[in-house]
Symmetry: C3
Subunit: 395 residues, 3 copies
């Protein structure tokens, strides 16, 4: 395979390109696609790097400055993502994750797909770490960790020069500290011209000389128009439990979205999914008329726990649901550790994840995906816990 | 009215202009004025945007990067503002508001006029907020809130093309978080060529879908030469009380400034002002010889509480007084709420404020302003509490 | 003496130069040297200013954005410094010093020579400060203070136009806050073409109108190749004590480095050094074969306490030792104050420090330095405390 490759950022070698683009015609490789790199300026976005990939049908924006998150997408006039109260991309330099007892992450949260992790994700809470003296000290781990507020140290665009002319954005993000966790995220975000699928391939490596912990969760968020009253969440659920009393109230229709509702308090459902013969599983959000959907396929081995976040509040407050495959549930790390849901990586050990996100348009495509999910289920009814269970949440 | 308008920053539309200027001759609109936009570089000021308006007689610098604060002014060789121990404009990216139990704001504090707010202002202290789960959690609200350390998302210069050729700088600042307060400040800072007045018109809107709180205070600060031994604070005081025992000590001459004094501890006086027939009130700082002054006119409806901050410390430590009209007193928000001094705004509800700041030069102008204040007082003597009162402060 | 001088940053006068260089041939002053200024872009280094001085034999990089630290050096193919888990220079805008109970400093720590201070250095811990109201409040002082994460406000290159053609980088860094400490660091970092010595001359001034505290420590760090199994620390030790039990374990060979060791917990030794007739003392790190070394000469008056930090962990975790002359030991400031090791400076009072760092190549040079140290010792055996002593550490 021949590839065209362009390094946009490589801080070790002092490479940085502010504005740049490439297109199918320039490379004489396929048709109708274009990749563009920009540096945003002014306001809270000042200095944010973005790379927009338009494959001719689907476009999306990767944000190196925010840990290689995917900001917004668009597919044949269908906007993908959601409308957060936080309107613009926020440079992490303006974010204090420890703010308000560890809720600072919420001041920059507006992405379509944002990784939570890598030292920890989930609710902010106290945990014990070892300090430089080898002493155990209690520290606050902030909500959803640091990775989304850590700029990438390397960004590269890679384009296949033979069919199918793969379009890829690669990045390396270091979540490092002396005397602290030192995790390297290597990501490759790839699409094919004309397709409606994005493949996210992540590799997380423990760079420390000692065994260490790692957590990752993919917070995939959808608002209007995909989300609407009657939109539903579909997945081959093995078992599901509400996170807390608030979520218990809505357990009967937990997978169905209501209309925007002022003062709605988030309802969160924790689950395990069944996996198909190939080890993969799939989770979807489908609109009411079953003709638009977004599907997430991934290995249940690497992302064995799944969270459905239902926040159908008023539109101004973020009418949104989140589909969140992860290495655990978004409780405090301390709680997750007790229940064996924190990954441990030895020195130089790597953890591989692949997440495929597809936009499905038209009833045929949606039904096909539903069939795939049914095939995984093989008729098994989900175990539905009507109340929070101790194994899943502390509420 | 015809207007010339130039957008300097509009992050939603990816507009950003680094260096720019316009002048009376270029627009053929009036004479002798000039507006200039610059981006500061290097040190703690790196990346700070400033817009300097020179109306021919009065010049001042608006700082979009710091929430549309007014940095320094100058009027016919009279410097306006003060000399803070913090010498240069500090990019909020270097400020951690939560530092030292919420005192981080002080590491960037050197403006002439800086807004405190909008979620909260006043002393840092613990308050209860609702988190994403709907739970009440205790958090630290940092000193004077976030607005002064939040970059503006939109900045526009607007010039009237007909007399009186209004010169305006407009800005929008979002103080937003998911699951948190979401307040929009829309400001217009206007002067007229050859005048010595600045009109600040602010509109604060609650963008949330639910009722929320809002607080704002205008911290207007003056050092030498306007401030000097014998300079006095004048206003139509209805009643005044010292904030604490320290302030009680100086109650007899609370409105008179002393010389710079090493080790002076700030004395703060809380008051309510009388209002004139038009609902407006006025507060001044006048120099000893009564021939130079700065006056602040505003509606006592929108800014019903007034604080006089006396910090006549050594010049190195910030020899300064603050005239501070606000929606409440700069106590903790928790305390202010108990005393009914926190504004509540419904969804999309707006709160309008107009603050007129005028430099008065010569005895005639100063005496005219004093007469206006006397007219508001109509001979009523102020109620002077010699000790702190429970209603005003917890000290 | 005639000097060539170039101001690269002067924020008070809005001077900032992004890219620049000068060399011996351009100035017709000596030979083979070059000074280059760059602004790094992208990732966590975005916006970091660096000035690289190459004197023909020795090169090193000064980092104005990080308080005029010295990042890395190189001397005739010998890399100087260490390999931290934090790979690149980190812009302080991405650092939250208060993170993890005050350990945020570790997220940017990778310099060869970094100053710790100036309000405080040492372990993070609670101390009492006076707030704006004159009240004593407990705050967290973060690990190693703020100076290394404060950008310089003035940066100037100065080159002597007569022999020996001194090459200097000067900087001013303000560690300032309203109602807080206000310390000015004025540094001059000088080398001579062809030499292997850097002279760091620092002046710290208390800009407050009142008496205030100051602490400074020079954290000089060495990894491979200078550090290796059998490398040793040499100094005219008056007395030495381990910081804690962990350090006690290794007291017998505290001055000898072991090989990289997974899971090694840092061992720290506090000491007082003897001084020579001229008031100076010297501390060295020497390699196993005694033919490469780095020497630090300084006045024992200005830097009376010395810390040897031994962190011979796995290479991935930072195989490093630190030679750290300071005004005290890196305990909490509160502890240091109790033991009289915190400097007090009156208004406008200055504190001068000179630190000479030399690379020694070849046995002859190394032996000469060892002789100098022996001469200072004059045969006096060091007092070796085998357990932590109360006077030095609280462990």
């Amino acid at each position: 395979m021949r590839f065209y490759s362009k390094t946009l950022t490589d801080i070790e070698n002092e490479v940085y390109i502010e504005e740049w683009s490439v297109s199918s015609s320039e490379l004489n490789a396929g048709e109708g696609w274009r990749i563009e790199k920009r540096r945003l300026r002014g306001g809270p976005s000042d200095g944010v790097d973005v790379v927009t990939v338009n494959n001719g049908v689907l476009s999306f924006t990767v944000v190196p400055s925010r840990g290689m998150s995917l900001w917004k997408g668009e597919c044949q006039d269908l906007p993908i993502g959601w409308r957060s109260p936080v309107r613009c991309l926020v440079n992490p330099c303006f974010i204090n994750l420890e703010e308000r007892r560890g809720l600072g992450w919420l001041r920059g949260f507006n992405e379509w797909i944002v990784r939570c992790g890598l030292e920890s994700f989930g609710a902010s809470g106290i945990d014990v770490i070892k300090d430089n003296m080898g002493n155990e000290v209690e520290v606050l781990l902030p909500l959803h960790g640091r990775i989304a507020n850590t700029p990438a140290s390397l960004v590269r665009v890679k384009v296949g020069l033979n069919p199918p002319f793969e379009l890829g954005v690669e990045g390396i993000v270091y979540e490092s500290s002396m005397f602290g966790s030192n995790l390297k995220l290597k990501t490759s975000i790839v699409t094919i011209p004309g397709s409606r699928t994005i493949k996210i391939s992540d590799e997380i490596e423990n760079l420390r000389g000692v065994l260490d912990e790692m957590q990752i969760l993919y917070h995939c968020n959808y608002g209007k128009p995909l989300l609407e009253e009657g939109a539903q969440f579909l997945a081959p659920i093995k078992r599901v439990a509400p996170r807390d009393e608030e979520a218990s109230k809505g357990i009967d229709s937990f997978n169905l979205a209501g209309p925007p509702e002022r003062g709605f308090i988030e309802r969160v459902y924790f689950m395990e999914l069944l996996e198909g013969a190939d080890g993969h599983t799939e989770a979807m959000l489908v609109n009411r008329s079953l003709d638009k959907a977004v599907s997430h396929r991934f290995s249940a081995k690497s992302l064995p726990f799944f969270t459905f976040w239902k926040n159908t509040a008023a539109e101004e407050d973020g009418y949104v649901v989140g589909l969140e495959p992860g290495t655990g549930f978004p409780n405090t790390r301390n709680f997750e550790r007790k229940h064996g849901r924190v990954v441990k990586l030895g020195p130089s050990e790597k953890y591989d994840i692949e997440l495929n996100v597809s936009l499905l348009l038209g009833r045929a495509e949606v039904e096909e995906a539903i069939s795939r999910i049914e095939a995984i289920k093989r008729g098994a009814p989900p175990i539905v816990h009507r109340e929070p269970i101790e194994e899943f949440s502390c509420a």
